[in-house]
Symmetry: C2
Subunit: 149 residues, 2 copies
Amino acid sequence: MPRIDLDAIPAVNTTGYPAPFAADVAGRWYRRLAPTAGLTDFGASHVVLKPGAWSAQRHWHEDEDELVVMISGEAVLVDDSGETPLRPGDVAAFPKNDGNGHCIRNDSDADCMFVAIGQATTRMCHYPDIDMVWSGDAGRYLHRDGTPY
Amino acid sequence: MPRIDLDAIPAVNTTGYPAPFAADVAGRWYRRLAPTAGLTDFGASHVVLKPGAWSAQRHWHEDEDELVVMISGEAVLVDDSGETPLRPGDVAAFPKNDGNGHCIRNDSDADCMFVAIGQATTRMCHYPDIDMVWSGDAGRYLHRDGTPY
């Protein structure tokens, strides 16, 4: 059945972020769709942000395009250009290696929901607001000086 | 600006389908998002189906995963398992080479809208209900016996 039974996929709020950066995404509940659906060309996650939750620390990938399709609720897209509202039907794109750190924040009093498309893995991700990078080669988060968390 | 200005992208209803198969998709108005947004990892289209329109002839790809995120309106997903309603927030996945021909039909009296993710190109696409295949090698639609349209 091509229509995905979202209720059959457990939603998780796990993160590999070290403290204190993990707290901002504690209200991010996501379902990985590609493994269940049998997709391998790209990754996809169904995401619910509880009020106050962030999709991620503000970041940009060296090697991964991302696309977000807003389904319900209201969110704020934060990037170098400032804050932009995202409403149902809005689509946002984040080309790899553009150096424009982005994240989506739920500043509203209700859940918001979106689907995010990207890759299953990423080699290098930068977090311009904090002392952190993701290194796929190291398989972990590092300080900017290369020392591990 | 990561939020895509959809109004700035012209919607088109062009198709390479030969007659009479083109008529079913005449009410499919789409915007190619990836070229404008600078994405290369995958393709994405924002699609409006007018009442009566089909997303495509029922098809499956040998070499292209597809994902659909419903934004607004109501549609019917048609595949080998029958007809399944699609409503805002529903997500449907079509793994490559599954042999399950699928399309999305708007049987309602109002527009419906979705975003479809796939690849920019496909090598081989099968249309189980009609005498047609897409051959990327030939760069055109063929009869099943290999003769061109």
